[in-house]
Amino acid sequence: MSLDKAAVRAIAELARIEVRDEELDHLAGELSGILHFVEQLAEVNTDGVPPMSSVADLTLPMRADVVTDGGQFAAVLANAPDGVIEDQGGFFTVPKVVE
């Protein structure tokens, strides 16, 4: 599969990474090269092989329904890039969203 500029732009959009127009050609070439490389898997017969999403031969461990965390808004907000605690009452902020 070779990707064209439009496809690269769509992927970048989905991944929320700004890509300048002049980068598109180069990226399209690079990503197409990678896809070409991984497409050799097509030659492997995988009929009846179940996909392997984890090597851990376990089932999901569960925890008890007990409150053990939280109550730490200062720690949660400590790294916020928009300096939130003093002036904005304990919220993270983003540019205004219009629904």
Binding site: A64, F92, P95, E99
Partner: protein
């Protein structure tokens, strides 16, 4: 419901996706609390805020609640299910993905019986139920150029319950939501509070010409926060579709928002570009396996559910379908009713519960099921007093009011207030004689054939006995007197 358009008749096809917040102490994948109303970002673990290196560990209670709900919906329980990541960017989705279930949900197909106003029922298919995390909350009105993010809800367990597109009218959709909420509350798996957002509904709406079996393009109306609004939104949306089709247009598949002030739906700007959620199994979580033993033990603790209860109320207490439906709509109401009706005449009990009792209950917000205006015991005892002739039904109305005011048991009230019914023939006859003596002209009119005045005499005598005369005896004795 059939909508008549300019080109012909249309029917509405409705499927509902309900997000029901699971009742649990802690979140689905973190140990932070779920309680409503905390300070912003104070019920947040680093897991819920998507910090680097944080990992999810599942809360067993949430799994049990999902199984319990599945059993309540008579649905297939999948002993092995898989959590997948639904990838999308949004301000209140800290991880950049929502942990949900995709092709292997914990609960498969089931059924829900909706109760229609005429007392009939209709089966609506349940497509699936899966567990997923809630997102945080964006607040758009606190700053001119910024939205604020509170992650307290982030990571709270939700059950997404998806119906089949089986509903055909806003009324059926309303009945579905009402019934689903009832079942969730019976099961104790969700409090069903739509105002606080612990039960939210997305409606998928399309229309088609009557007689057609095609499924046309649907629109999804997001997060409508009351049953009434869901119904309004569906009706508006269906008429919009019909308008578009009848004017030669096409419906675009999209997500829409209901504006409850204008009563309209509109396209959601934040959902404008097409989504590609790139679901894949969450590599931080292994397959969720529940044992048949666990399912069986949950099954053994299921309460009697509304449909069974309704059938039993009809059989055991002789209620009609409508009354039985009303009575089981809330678990606490059903329990109250049974407290009153047990060992007594069911219809009398139902009349009192649905009449004076519900009216008083709804008259003041201070009354709740843990603080009812009168206890089921006292209401039951009052019915006993009616039955044994101590008080008349008429007097009982007063006794009821005194019970509400004082909380005392009815026998004490009857005693203290002297409300005991007069069944002494002599006393009643004496009162009749007095009234007759005072109103000879009216006596003459009755005797001349003006039967209508009989009622006036009954009223007068009742008044003279402060309402305590046994109404049956009074009627009988007055009639006898006139014949004399």
């Amino acid at each position: 419901m059939i909508i008549q358009g300019d080109t012909g008749d249309w029917e509405i096809v409705i499927g509902l996706e309900v997000h029901a917040q699971v009742i649990s102490n802690a979140k689905l994948f973190s140990g932070a609390a779920t309680a409503f109303g905390a300070e912003p970002n104070d019920q947040v673990s680093f897991v819920d805020a998507g910090f680097p290196g944080m990992l999810p560990v599942i809360n067993e209670k949430c799994v049990e609640q999902a199984v319990r709900t599945g059993l309540g919906l008579k649905a297939q329980i999948n002993l092995t299910s898989v959590f997948a990541r639904k990838n999308y960017f949004y301000a209140d989705l800290p991880q950049g993905y929502q942990i949900s279930q995709y092709d292997m949900p914990i609960v498969g197909e089931g059924t829900l019986l909706i109760d229609l106003p005429d007392g009939s029922t209709r089966a609506i298919g349940i497509e699936r139920l899966h567990l997923e995390q809630d997102a945080g909350k964006s607040i758009h009105d606190m700053h001119p150029s910024k939205s604020y993010i509170d992650l307290n809800r982030s990571g709270v367990a939700l059950m997404e319950i998806v119906s089949k597109p089986d509903m055909r009218s806003p009324e059926e959709a309303g009945a579905y939501l009402t019934k689903l909420r009832t079942i969730l509350r019976y099961l104790g798996t969700c409090d069903g509070n739509m105002q606080e957002g612990s039960m939210r509904c997305d409606a998928n709406v399309s229309v088609r010409p009557v007689g057609s079996t095609e499924l046309r393009t649907r629109c999804e109306i997001k997060n409508v926060n009351s049953i009434r609004f869901v119904q309004q939104a569906i009706e508006y949306e269906a008429r919009r579709h019909i308008d578009v089709y009848e004017n030669g247009g096409e419906i675009k598949q999209e997500t829409r928002l209901f504006d409850s002030v204008k009563g309209e739906t509109r396209s959601m700007r934040s959902k404008e570009h097409a989504h590609d959620y790139r679901y894949f199994p969450d590599p931080d979580l292994l397959p969720l396996v529940v044992s048949q033993d666990l399912v069986d033990s949950i099954k053994a603790t299921l309460p009697e559910l509304p449909d069974e209860k309704k059938a039993r109320f009809m059989a055991e207490y002789g209620l009609n379908a409508y009354d039985a439906g009303v009575m089981v709509a809330e678990k606490e109401a059903a329990e109250f009713f049974e407290g009153v009706a047990k060992g007594r005449d069911g219809k009398t009990a139902a009349n009192w519960v649905m009449g004076d009792f519900f009216a008083t209950m709804n008259s003041d917000a201070k009354y709740t099921w843990t603080n009812p205006p009168v206890s089921a015991e006292n209401l039951g005892r009052m019915i006993d007093l009616i039955k044994d002739g101590t008080i008349s039904t008429r007097l009982a109305k007063d006794v009821f009011i005194f019970m509400v005011e004082s909380g005392k048991d009815p026998a004490t009230i009857v005693e203290e207030k002297g409300l005991k019914q007069v069944t002494d023939t002599g006393a009643i006859e004496k009162a009749i004689d007095e009234v007759f003596a005072a109103n000879p002209d009216k006596v003459a009119e009755v005797k001349a054939g003006k039967d209508k005045l009989m009622g006036w005499f009954v009223g007068q005598v009742m008044k003279a006995t402060q309402g305590k005369a046994n109404p049956g005896m009074l009627n009988e004795l007055i009639a006898k007197k006139f014949k004399e």
